[in-house]
Structures are given as C-alpha cells and as structure tokens.
C-alpha cells in the first residue's frame, strides 16, 4: 500500500499522478491523503483570502473537494480529506488571520505555525499507523508555500516519531514549481540546493498509459488549473519535464531524504532503534 500525502486538494495528483496510476495498474492500493482540505471555520473569509479568491478565481472548498473526488476516482485511488484549514483561512487563537499578503503565503514557518504542525504530525502518525503503508510520499516543499512546508515538516516528524515502525519516506517534487523551472526564484532554488545535499533522487519510469491516467485526473481540477498554470500549456510543460527525467520515456521524480532519520530523530527514537537491533 502506498500513501500519498498532499498538502492541498490537487498536489499529490499533479505531482505523483503517474506513480499512483502505476500502483493501481499493478493492482496495488493507493491512498491520497489531503491535509489542508477544509475551508474557513464558520465560512467567513479573511480580507486577504477574499481578495485572493477574487483575483485568482479560487473556487469554494466543496467545488475543489468534488474535483479531487473525481480525480481520485479516475486514478482508482482511495482518498482522505483531513479537516485542517488552508493557510489562507487559518486564524491564530486570537482570531487574527495567519496570512495577510502573498509574501506570508510563501515563506518559512513561523513560531505560531508550531501548533498546526504538531496537530498535522499527530494526524499523519495516526493514519500511517492505521494504514501501514510500505511507502509514504510527501511534498519536498518546493515553492515554499507554507502549507507545503508545514506538511513536509509534519510528515518528517511523524516518520521520525514512528521510529523502527516507520515506512519508507519519499519526497516528491511539487508541480507546477518543478516543471515550470522556477528554480530561478530564490525560495525554490534554496529548497533544491538543500534537497540535493540532504537527499538522493529516484526516477520513476511511467508508461504512456500511466501518463494518460495522470493527465485525465489532472483535468478533473478544472477550477484550479487556470490559477495554477496561468495560461501555459500545462500538458506540454508536464510532459517536457517528465521526458527530461527519463530520456526517451516519461517519469516522475522523488527524493530519499538520506539524513532524515539521523537529523530529526531524538534520543527516544535512537533508543527505540538501538533496542530493536
């Protein structure tokens, strides 16, 4: 069983749709878990979220949930929607919006994100224990969207907390950041540099059939595609990147975090592993 952890309602399918299709083609079980699948508590948008919705034409959460349900159906994947609100809708315990500008949408975690990361860590650990996946796929955090960075941090922590029982963790490169060669932006370039020094790349070869399934599934996110790809030919961009990974073929890329356990494991984790050997 493979567990694909998606920060938002589209990331896993956009980035790993081919691998999910490949898993299903081999009669394997694939589960797509979306962490931030909830809207604003009480339904009221923050002023910035209202502006962002209007500017980018963001659809309401249920429209996006229905699209994700359709995409997962097309891939034959099971799905889970956790009820954490996206950063755009989050407020601190005083009721203040977490995000007031685009800069705050794409940035490193702040101290007031700790509580969310802890809650997400706990939820992910719960699901990993419950599903016992052989491999968990999570986002690298390219582009530094706060929800992606938070999911990455929470997933690494959950894996670390599980110690010897933890499944294999592979980090996937998020689309569209990887495909649109956005390494020129400082955040993405920094994330890639960090990745190359702390992880080893894996290329996953796909068939044309897997690719066709991925594209059909991405097409389900019809309300999202314009704001993600800004009018670019997304099919061509994705294909070009996939061909770049596998000369003469198609692929998707993940990274194995080589320093993951040693860097994040605390003494308790070390005890568990040493006692098990």
């Amino acid at each position: 069983m493979q567990l694909y952890v998606s920060p938002h309602l589209d990331d896993a399918v956009l980035s790993c749709g081919g691998m999910i299709a490949r898993t299903r083609r081999g009669a394997g079980r694939a589960v797509v878990l979306t962490v931030f699948a909830s809207g604003p508590r009480g339904g009221k948008l923050t002023p910035y979220a209202a502006r962002y919705h209007a500017k980018c034409g963001i659809a309401d959460l249920w429209t996006r949930r229905w699209e994700d349900i359709e995409a997962c159906e097309l891939l034959g994947a099971e799905l889970i929607h956790l009820q954490f609100p996206e950063i755009l809708y989050r407020r601190d315990h005083h009721g203040r919006p977490r995000c007031r500008s685009r800069h705050e949408l794409f940035s490193q975690l702040r101290p007031d994100d700790t509580a969310v990361v802890a809650e997400v860590t706990s939820a992910l650990a719960h699901w990993i224990r419950r599903l016992s996946p052989a491999t968990v796929y999570g986002p690298v955090g390219l582009g530094e969207h706060v929800d992606h960075v938070a999911t990455n941090a929470a997933l690494r922590q959950a894996i670390s907390d599980l110690g010897a029982d933890a499944p294999r963790l592979l980090l996937y490169e998020e689309m569209p950041y990887a495909a649109l060669n956005q390494a020129s932006t400082a955040n993405t370039a920094a994330a890639l540099r960090h990745l190359k020094s702390t992880a080893t790349p894996n290329t996953h070869r796909l068939t044309e059939e897997d690719w066709a399934h991925k594209i059909r599934a991405i097409e389900a996110y019809r309300s999202q595609l314009p704001s993600i790809w800004h009018g670019t030919d997304w099919r061509a961009e994705l294909r070009a990147y996939a061909q770049q990974l596998v000369p003469g073929g198609l692929g998707e890329q993940t990274w194995t975090p080589t320093l993951d356990r040693s860097s994040s494991a605390g003494p308790a984790d070390a005890d568990v592993r040493s006692s098990g050997t």
Partner: protein, 349 residues
C-alpha cells in the same frame, strides 16, 4: 402478413416463437436498438436474451419482428406465461422498468400499426396482455395512447412514478440547484466520512470484471434485505434462485456494448454500497442498489447516490432516470416525476 405502408416499402411481420430464431435475429436487433431513439436497455437483445436463457425459460416466446425491404424495423418482444392464465408480458417483465416496442425512427407509424395488428390478433393466443409499465414517450403508443381492443376489458392499474434527473453541463450548477438542506446534509456526511476513513469510488464496467462484481453486488443486496428481515418485500422474480445468474449474464453482456456500469463505494477498503446503472448514450438508469448494513452509520447509500451522480456527470451523462418508485431520496436529488402507465387488456373467456 403484409401491411401497406406510406414509407419506402411494405412492412412484413414475422412471429418468432423459439429461442434459436431469436438469437439469430440478435445482430439486426442490436442495430435497431442503436437506431431507435427512445429505446431503453430493457429492449436491448443482451438484456432480453439473458432473461430468455434464465428466468424466461418457462415462458413461450411470442416476439413480433417487423421487416421492411429486408431490414428489421420493429420488434414487439413478448412472451406468454402458460402457467399464469396465458398472460402475455414483455420479455424481461416484471424486471423491466420500462416496456416498449423497438421501432426504427424512419416512418415508424406503419411499423407500430403492423406490430399491434399481430399482437392483438386472436391467433396470438393470450388471455391477458400486460402493458406495464409504459413511458409517456413510448414508441408503441398510437397518437400518444395505448390501444383498445374490441371485446376486451381494459384494466387500469395505478400510475407509477419514475423520477428523472436532468444534469446541467456544469456540475456546480446542478449542485447549486439541490435543495440547500439536503446538499448540506450530504456534504457534511461526506466530509465527516472523508476525514475519518478512506473512501473509494470505483466504477466497474469491464465485462470480464462485471460478472464477478455483479455477483458480489447481488450477495450484498440480498444480505442487507435479509438482515433487515425484509427479503419478502423483493418482487418474487428477484428472489428466484436464477435471478443472480440472469443479472450477472445481462450486466456482463450489456457492458460489452457499453450499456452497464456498476459503481462501488468502499469505506476503509470494505464494500459499503453499490449502485447498478444501465446506460444508453448520455442517459443512465439507476436500476438496483445495495448497501452493507454494517456500514449503515456512514449512510453509504446516500453518499453513493451523490458520488455516483458526480461520476456519471464527469463521464458525460446528462439524464439519469432514478428508476421506478417514488422513494424520497430521488426527489431530494432533484428528480422530476415521469408517470408510467399500466394497463392490462383481458379477453373474455
């Protein structure tokens, strides 16, 4: 017998009374079924032949086949139940949600007239003719009406509803049209389940997989009726030991022609509910439903109704008949009544 026709040529009608003859007609029947605009899956040869080979084995076929210029242009698929007062019924009855003649769209009136002439002929040998259930747009109607027969009593049975749902091209437009109370309730149920369980919506349409899937479906359906102590509420034909065999054979054959789709809902990797749809072009008919009583806390039937509609919508279906019966959920989903007429003609002894 030759009927004068205003169309390209005269219409001749042949009576078919044995199965091998009917099987031989299947290729032309398929072509006619594809051409007939109002035909339902219940008039498709794959459905009818599966019934003839299983549940209908005890009935005497009396199928009227109309030809014009050597081409099959009409079919009145009837069978006489010798054990039930020589009642003539449509092949597949009482399992069919809609019954009708199959009629070529070009110059249909002479074909319908010729078929009726044969069906109503005393030589047909029936004591009762069950014209039920018949849609308002059925091809067998003459000027919108079912025929009268001199010397025969006409028994009118209560009209049955068959709610029909039309879906807009934009799913969100349909979603917005749903009664707010029900939409919120369904979406809350779905959100709660998606947060606490893995959910999978799985269409099964491959003929090779469908026979097994339909057998699984039928076991689930029977077990839920049995667990609720309501098995005897199913129509007797559905309790017949041969029914699962009929359903699996019909579904697999229809799937081969793209006319059958089973949608399964799994919660935590366990089958929670399944809906069997019969399809034609951009129309689908919700034929039978099953749910796992152990998953009742998730309201899987309600969830699958809306999830199934989403799946059908994504595949281009824009008209969904919710089948015979006026269950509340059909109206909550936006179904509008289509009245099904039910008439029995009885000849004096």
């Amino acid at each position: 017998m030759v009927e004068p026709a205003a169309g390209p040529g005269p219409v001749g009608v042949q009576t078919i009374t044995d199965l091998p003859q009917l099987i031989a007609l299947a290729p032309a029947w398929r072509v006619l079924s594809d051409l007939a605009p109002a035909a339902s899956v219940f008039q498709h040869p794959d459905w009818a032949l599966a019934w003839c080979r299983t549940l209908g084995a005890d009935s005497a076929l009396q199928v009227q086949a109309a030809f014009r210029d050597g081409e099959l242009v009409g079919l009145a698929p009837l069978a006489i139940d010798a054990g039930d007062g020589r009642a003539a019924r449509f092949v597949g009855a009482p399992l069919n949600d809609f019954n009708d003649f199959l009629v070529h769209p070009q110059d249909p009136a002479p074909v319908v007239a010729a078929l009726w002439r044969q069906v109503l002929d005393p030589a047909a040998g029936w004591a009762a003719l069950e014209l039920t259930p018949i849609r308002p747009d059925a091809a067998l109607r003459i000027n919108g009406h079912l025929p009268n027969l001199t010397g025969a009593a006409r028994e009118l049975l209560p009209v049955q509803p068959a709610p029909l749902l039309r879906l807009e091209d934009d799913w969100e437009a349909y979603r917005a049209r749903l009664p707010a109370r029900h939409r919120r309730q369904w979406e809350r149920t779905l959100a709660r389940t998606l947060a606490d369980h893995t959910v999978q919506v799985q269409p099964v349409e491959d003929p090779h997989q469908l026979a097994d899937a339909v057998a699984r479906f039928e076991r689930l359906r029977r077990s839920s009726w049995t667990a609720r102590g309501r098995l005897d509420e199913l129509v007797p034909t559905q309790r017949d030991d041969r029914f699962p065999q009929f359903l699996a054979a019909a579904a697999a054959a229809l799937a081969g022609a793209g006319h059958c789709l089973l949608i399964e809902l799994a919660i935590d990797h366990t089958l929670a509910a399944a809906d069997l749809y019969l399809t034609r072009a951009r129309s689908a008919l919700l034929y039978l439903r099953a749910f796992n009583i152990e998953a009742a806390e998730h309201s899987p039937g309600v969830m699958l109704a809306i999830l199934g509609l989403k799946l059908l919508h994504a595949r281009g279906y824009r008209e969904v008949s919710l089948g015979r019966g006026g269950e509340a959920f059909k109206y909550h989903l936006g179904g509008q009544d289509v009245p099904l007429e039910r008439v029995v003609l009885r000849r004096s002894p």
